[in-house]
């Protein structure tokens, strides 16, 4: 597998970094090489947050993703800013509750997921990021579903076990969206 470069972007507080962390842990559980690099500038204090994740069989060179294979966009500014950077043949996943897609590119696949709406309707407030991940898992060959489950169980401490169930639920919603 060549390196898959993933860019996740949205508002601070939407769980962009956490969703990236889950992908990174998936790489860890799947014995891949990987890197996770957050934006840590002033933008994460109230503005946009983004994070670069690279997954590969080879050691990772630059961990900074500029031209993603996969873009996960959770707000309008991030979608508008990054959609043109996606590699030809790449995939874009976005929260269609919050984002209007005015992109005219035909060389990429764009998946609209009403992830905020789905999360809210199912009493999973704040689970929009995981709903989107569910869709990513369905539409790409990145990891199989078991790897997601292993990663979540690794990240969430046993004391907060109810969060594991909620994450699984949100993930399923995305898989079926």
């Amino acid at each position: 597998m060549a390196t898959t470069e993933i860019l996740l972007a949205g508002f601070g507080g939407q769980g962009v970094l956490f969703a990236g962390k889950i992908l990174a842990y998936c790489g860890l559980m799947d014995n891949k090489e990987l890197s996770w690099l957050p934006s840590y500038g002033p933008e994460m204090r109230g503005g946009t947050a983004n994070c670069s994740v690279c997954i590969s069989d080879e050691p990772i060179g630059s961990p900074l993703v500029l031209t993603p294979d996969i873009l996960i966009a959770m707000n309008q500014p991030s979608f508008d800013k990054f959609v043109n950077d996606v590699k030809p043949g790449g995939k874009v996943f976005y929260d269609s509750t919050l984002i209007e897609n005015e992109c005219t590119r035909t060389d990429i696949e764009i998946y609209a997921v009403p992830s905020s709406q789905l999360a809210d309707d199912n009493e999973l407030k704040g689970g929009s990021n995981i709903v989107l991940l569910g869709k990513v898992f369905k539409e790409t060959e990145l990891f199989n579903v078991d790897v997601f489950k292993k990663a979540i169980e690794k990240i969430v401490p046993p004391a907060k076990a109810q969060l594991i169930t909620n994450n699984f639920k949100a993930f399923e919603l995305g898989m079926n969206a």
Binding site: K21, A24, Y25, G27, L28, N31, E33, L34, S35, W36, L37, P38, Y40, G41, P42, I60, G61, S62, P63, L64, L66, P157
Partner: protein, 359 residues
Amino acid sequence: MKGAVKALERNLMKGNEALAEAAIRAGCKCFFGYPITPQTELAAYMAKRMNKAGGVFLQAESEIAAINMVLGAASTGVRAMTSSSSPGLSLKSEGISYIAGSDVPAVIINVQRGGPGLGGIQPSQADYWQATKALGHGDFHLLVFAPASVQEMVDMVVRAFDKADEYRMPAMILADGLLGQMMEPVSFPEIKANCVDKSSWAADGHKGKRAHHIINSLYLKPDELEKSVSDRFARYDVIKSKETDAELYLTEDCDILLCAFGATARVVKSAVNEARAQGIKAGLFRPKTLWPFPVKEINEAAKSAKKLLSVEMSMGQMIDDIKLAINCSKPVEFYGRTGGVIPTPAEVLAEIKKVGGAE
């Protein structure tokens, strides 16, 4: 952070956290710091773990206080460390000079950000000169290690403590915001804290049973000061011959030799691979020790090269050491970004073609 990290297991950690965990495993008993982005996670990790590990974490009132606490603790023979980022290092420079002048081992971490002044908080390598040439007043050096991955941060912290003890001098890990903030898989070898006998000099209490040990950097008689400096430089000669380290990547047949350290070397390696795929014979020389600079290694790497190209996150600092190391025997070009901008593999590849690596 859920309790202690298990040895040998593949963990996912930020570079800053891995530096802290490795220091604790290497037997660091005292950490003194003052907060600054982008190294904050290191101090935060120490605050959580140090107490449980039987050591001391103390947030000092300033960088200057923190480095002088390191001098005090290290004078008693315990392993002590401080960490900061660029502007903080400038503040610590007085204390580092005293540590060097007192022949006391200590580990100092710089997770670099853009400068000068308060600068910015994004990754930079513009403290190369400071680290290798002038981290404080007077004739002295630090051992300077330049990791390029989270795993290497772990390995180099352990080495820094061992070498600092062995040569009784300060050692620095020169990292940057990118390495500090990124997460990568990392494992911790079973580290045996190398127990160096410090009983001949440590000021750890004599209980009336031996003469005082005096830790001092003040010599008012020029002859005495000259001798103490000369003795130190005799040790530096040993270090220069024994402690250099570098990675040579695809250098055997290279026409153009790229030189880069730390995070930049990762970007450059991607560019070198791409250049090779396009038929350009590019290679990479990556110093892992910046002081002592790997002179022998770069001459070996540059054997077949017609040109060298130094790539740095600065306006060009390591390039001076490269020119000295090869005695200006070949042209050395430069490409850099500064102020917190990270060069891209595409930019570096374009530069390779521009300076004459083209087919």
